[in-house]
Structures are given as structure tokens and as C-alpha cells.
Symmetry: C2
């Protein structure tokens, strides 16, 4: 029938997503319904030139694969760390996590190389768009998402729209400071929640304990050759290591207090945690809110994301929403 | 001429403003152009009953005076500490600064007693409305105002509208925490900027130094009978008292870091400081922003308010804007 034909056409309309993180460069083919059809990952190169070349190369490969997968690519959505001007498709500035990433126009070279329209936004903002279109944020007017990965990113939806701010620096939630004399952060300040509760921060503390021979406890499986990670810290704490437990408690308090600060500034109705540590953080964050938020803000809901890849899905949503509106 | 007659009618359209603070209850007659025609002040009573009676009494007196002053009162605008549901005209919850101030419907009893429409909002939000209509916020799409008085209040304008949040708890800027193990705050948490940089916090520290005989320095004028205030602390620091200086430095850092948190969450283009300590705080706050804000947020402007009475003028603006639109 005609209606089935139309459904079929809609279903094969797809986006190419690019996610530029502190560790990896990933590309995905994402279909209209939010399914990731195919995914590609490489370490994110440390130089501008190599990074740009790899983006175009991975996208070209994916576009070739897309034909065989019956996916019609409508455009490219790029999610990246750093402050992004989405109107221009330019990364204005980034922290040390992605080097050589200041005043970088992503739209023009990618669009020229691939002959496709290109949208760009900050990774945390993309995650918020993904929650809005495919996740817990569907139909929620005011919510915030916080992503804990190598660093900490975030996005704010207010009146059903992303908050970008006057210089595209809104929702830099990893750099909310909760202790003005706290540990140094990659941004140059001190006491940011990223410096306490990110994967990077926990790994730093795990290494510190390991170097002092204070990490490993009885019953803990840890090979000599293994790199020390946040996972080892969590494991050690569960097995009774009080030093590891103290580090994690501080991380939870810092993240929780940072989130209370968000509640006292924009007062969303929902906080969505995502990233590998989100299920670990959920209960302690709720506990800090109960202890420290103003009475009127305590009714907030904290949930963990059910999306496998918020940044990739959000980057795709920019393409799918705009391209199908035929206005860009 | 007819045009002069119309001008005359517009100019005499006025609002009654009520400001309920941690210390005083004030009422003012405010004309359309933002001039305060007459002002009344009393200590804010400590009980609900006495407070409500005094509000109605002071308003009735002001309405009587307004006739002789050729001011036609269009309605009553109430600015109060605490979380306010402006749609209902209800104070939902307040901190210890205003006791017996939970679930208080202000609109109905005041409107019934005075036979005038009544608008209510949080004091910091009123200050933001005042800056938007009469102050530095005129024509600015995204700005934030922070008022330092007994406590610290604030208001956020985003896309030219107040941000109230999902439970009317947005812009509780005094309770942004900048040190999760910091001093106790009136809200029950710790390390809020109000606990470091409010008039109350500085007075607490001044008293502490005074009790230890560490406040007074040579050349400082201070009578035995005088109550110790934030002013003495500032004075002592200027005359070389290093302990007083350290307290004030910490207050400046805390306030500055709190403001950087706001920049990293909503990223306004302008921060307006008001209240008695605003001129003292302006330069150090700018300094903390330069040191600690992300590069993209450093272009923010920090100014001090030129309005004599932001809360009273903002309360008036709710009346003047709504009543002259003839839609309420
Ligand atoms: Ca963001
Ligand atoms: Ca407020
Ligand atoms: Zn930081
Ligand atoms: Zn507080």
C-alpha cells in the first residue's frame, strides 16, 4: 500500500553521527527511529590535521556502507567536547581533553568533503537532545542531563529548547565548582565536579592509592599489567577498602552538590544521569539532594538514561529533525 | 491638549509595592516612570498574624496618602523572600530569615482587604524585573541579578523572561554552594554563597573577631555601644587588619565562584550586582571570573545596579505591566 511505502521511505532516512570525545572518535549510522545501524570507533587523534582527516575518512566509509544497509543519509551531526557555536558549526574553544581544538570550523570542510549538510553541537547538549527525542526527556519541558565519561558534560532543556547561553557556554556542567579550594581541573580552575567525579578524576585517585600500595584489598582481582581504572576503585570500596570508599564518597558528594546548584539555578523537574558511572551515582546523588536542596526543589526526579549512546543519538537528532523539516 | 491630558493620566497611574525582607517590611507608592513617590518602613514582624496585619495597615495608609499625591493605585505588587508561586500568589516556603512563612496565600487576603489586584513574586525575581524595566537589564535578553542584603537573592532573565523553574525554585542564587564542607547556611545546607558573602555572614564573622578582640585596629572609629556590622569588617580590613581582610577575601572568592557557576549553567551576557555590598564586590567578582571562568564565558559584563530599590521597583513593575495591559 501507499502508506507502507511511505513508512518504508521514512524508516530508511538516516543520519551520520560523529562523536568527538576526550578518548575516542566515533561515527554511527542512525536511522529515523533512533536505532544505531552501524558503529565505528578509533582513538581520537591528538592533532587537528589528523583528527579532521580521520573524521572525513570514517564518514566516507560509513556513507559507502550505508548504501548496502538501505540507509539514505540526510546529513551529518557532530557532537564534540568544547564550546560550540551551532549556528556557525564552529568549535570555539575546548579544554585540554581535546588538544588543538580552538576556533575550528567543522561545518564547511566536512560538508564540502561529503556533500551533505552538517550540524554541530556540544556533546552534553547533544545528549540532552537525544533524551528529548528518544529517552526519558520525551515530553518533559524542563530537564537537565549530566554525562559522566572521561570528563563530565551536560545539557539543559528549558521550555523544551536547549539553553546555549549568550556565548554558547551554558550547560558546561562539568565545570560547576563545589569547593573553591578543591583539586585542579582540566579547565584551569579548582574544585569543579569534573575534578572529583569524572572517570578521569577517579582514575587519578585510583592510581594515587595504587602507587602508595593502598588500593588492592583481599579478594580483589587485579593483574599487574592491567591499567588502574575507576572500576578498581569501586571494586576496592565494595570489598571494604576505606580509603577507596572515602574517595568515592567525596565524588558522590561533589556531584550531588553540583546538581543541587543546578536545581537552585534552573530548577528542572528531571535530572537524567548518563555515562558508565550513572547507575553508581544515582542513589548517592538523590541522597545529597534530600539533605541539601531547598524544600521546594526536593521533588525533583533523578533517573539514569536508558539510551546506549546519548551523544551519537543526539547528533543524529539534529540531522533527523532539521532535514525532515526541510528548513536549514 | 488631548495628548498632554493622556500623558497626565499615564503619569499618575501608580503601583503599591510591598517588600518583605529578613529585616524590614517596606511599602512604597511607585509611579509609572519608576519614581518612588513615598516610602514606608517598619521592622518585619516575627509572626504570621502580626505580619499580615501590618501589611494591610501600611498599604491602607499608603492608599490614603496616594489620593493626596495624585497617584491612582492600579494594584499591589509584593516582593518577598522565599519560594513563590506567582500564578497563585502564594509563598510556598521560606528560610529561617522570615519565620512562619510557609504555604501563605498573600493574594487573596490582601486583595480582599484592599479591593485591588495583587501580584506576588520572590524578591530576587522582582529585582530582575526592575532591572529589566528600569535598570541595566533594559533590552538585554539574558541577564542575571544578585542582591546582597541580609541574605543573598537573585533573579534570572532568559530570552527576556523570568526563569521560575518547575517548582518555582529557580534563581535561588544565595543557595549556590561553593564549598561542600563550608559554613552552615540558614537553609540547612553548608557552604552556600549566602553563608559567606551576605550581610548576615559578614556580621557573624565581624562579631566573632570582635568577641576575640581581633576586630578593632588603630585609627578605627567604633563606639562600645554600637552593634558590630559588615561595615566595621570592611573598615578594619582597609586599615590593615589581616584577619578581617582574610574573611572578606573568602567572601569575595565564594561570591565570585558562585557567579562563575551561574555563567557555566545559564551563561548570561550581563551580571547585575545590587544591594549595599555590590560596589564592594564588583571588582573582586570580575577578578574571580577572569581567573576561573571558561574562556568563552569571560566576556561577561559585571555591573552594579543603579536602582535605589530593585525589589520595590520590580514589585511595582508587575502591577504596571499587567494592569496597563488590562489582562490579569
Ligand atoms: Ca553542554
Ligand atoms: Ca530568586
Ligand atoms: Zn573545571
Ligand atoms: Zn543555603
Amino acid at each position: 500500500s501507499i502508506s507502507q511505502d511511505i513508512d518504508h521511505i521514512l524508516e530508511t532516512q538516516s543520519a551520520l553521527s560523529v562523536d568527538l570525545g576526550g578518548t575516542n572518535l566515533r561515527v554511527a549510522i542512525v536511522c529515523m527511529m533512533g536505532n544505531i545501524v552501524k558503529k565505528y570507533a578509533q582513538p581520537n587523534p591528538k592533532t587537528f590535521e589528523a583528527r579532521m582527516q580521520l573524521i572525513v575518512k570514517m564518514c566516507s566509509d560509513a556513507i559507502r556502507d550505508a548504501v548496502g544497509l538501505n540507509c539514505r543519509i540526510l546529513g551529518v551531526g557532530v557532537s564534540t567536547g568544547g564550546r560550540v557555536n551551532p549556528q556557525e558549526g564552529v568549535v570555539m574553544h575546548s579544554t585540554k581533553l581535546i588538544p588543538e581544538w580552538t576556533s575550528v570550523n567543522l561545518r564547511t570542510p566536512i560538508s564540502d568533503a561529503l556533500h551533505l549538510p552538517v550540524w554541530v553541537d556540544n556533546d552534553g547538549n547533544c545528549a540532552a537532545l537525544a533524551e528529548k527525542k528518544f529517552g526519558h526527556g520525551k515530553g518533559v519541558e524542563n530537564f537537565v542531563t549530566i554525562i559522566t565519561g572521561t570528563g563530565i558534560g551536560g545539557g539543559i532543556i528549558h521550555h523544551s529548547e536547549l539553553v546555549h547561553g549568550s556565548t554558547f557556554c551554558a550547560a558546561e556542567l562539568g565545570h560547576i565548582m563545589v569547593s573553591f579550594e578543591g583539586p585542579e581541573c582540566s579547565c584551569g580552575s579548582r574544585g569543579c565536579i569534573e575534578a572529583y567525579a569524572s572517570g578521569m578524576a577517579l582514575q587519578r585517585e585510583a592510581k594515587r592509592l595504587h602507587d602508595e600500595d593502598l588500593l588492592k584489598v583481599e579478594g580483589m582481582d587485579m593483574k599487574l599489567s592491567e591499567p588502574v581504572t575507576a572500576g578498581h576503585l569501586i571494586n576496592a570500596a565494595r570489598l571494604g577498602n576505606s580509603k577507596a570508599d572515602a574517595v568515592l564518597n567525596k565524588a558522590c558528594t561533589a556531584l550531588g552538590v553540583g546538581i543541587v546548584n543546578i536545581l537552585h539555578i534552573v530548577n528542572p523537574s528531571l535530572v537524567i544521569l548518563s555515562g558508565v558511572l550513572s547507575s553508581y551515582y544515582k542513589t548517592p546523588v538523590q541522597h545529597v539532594i534530600n539533605e541539601r536542596a531547598l524544600f521546594s526543589a526536593q521533588s525533583i526526579k533523578v533517573v539514569t538514561s536508558e539510551l546506549e549512546e546519548p551523544a551519537l543519538l543526539g547528533a543524529a537528532s539534529m540531522v533527523l529533525d532539521y532535514a525532515t523539516r526541510r528548513t536549514y
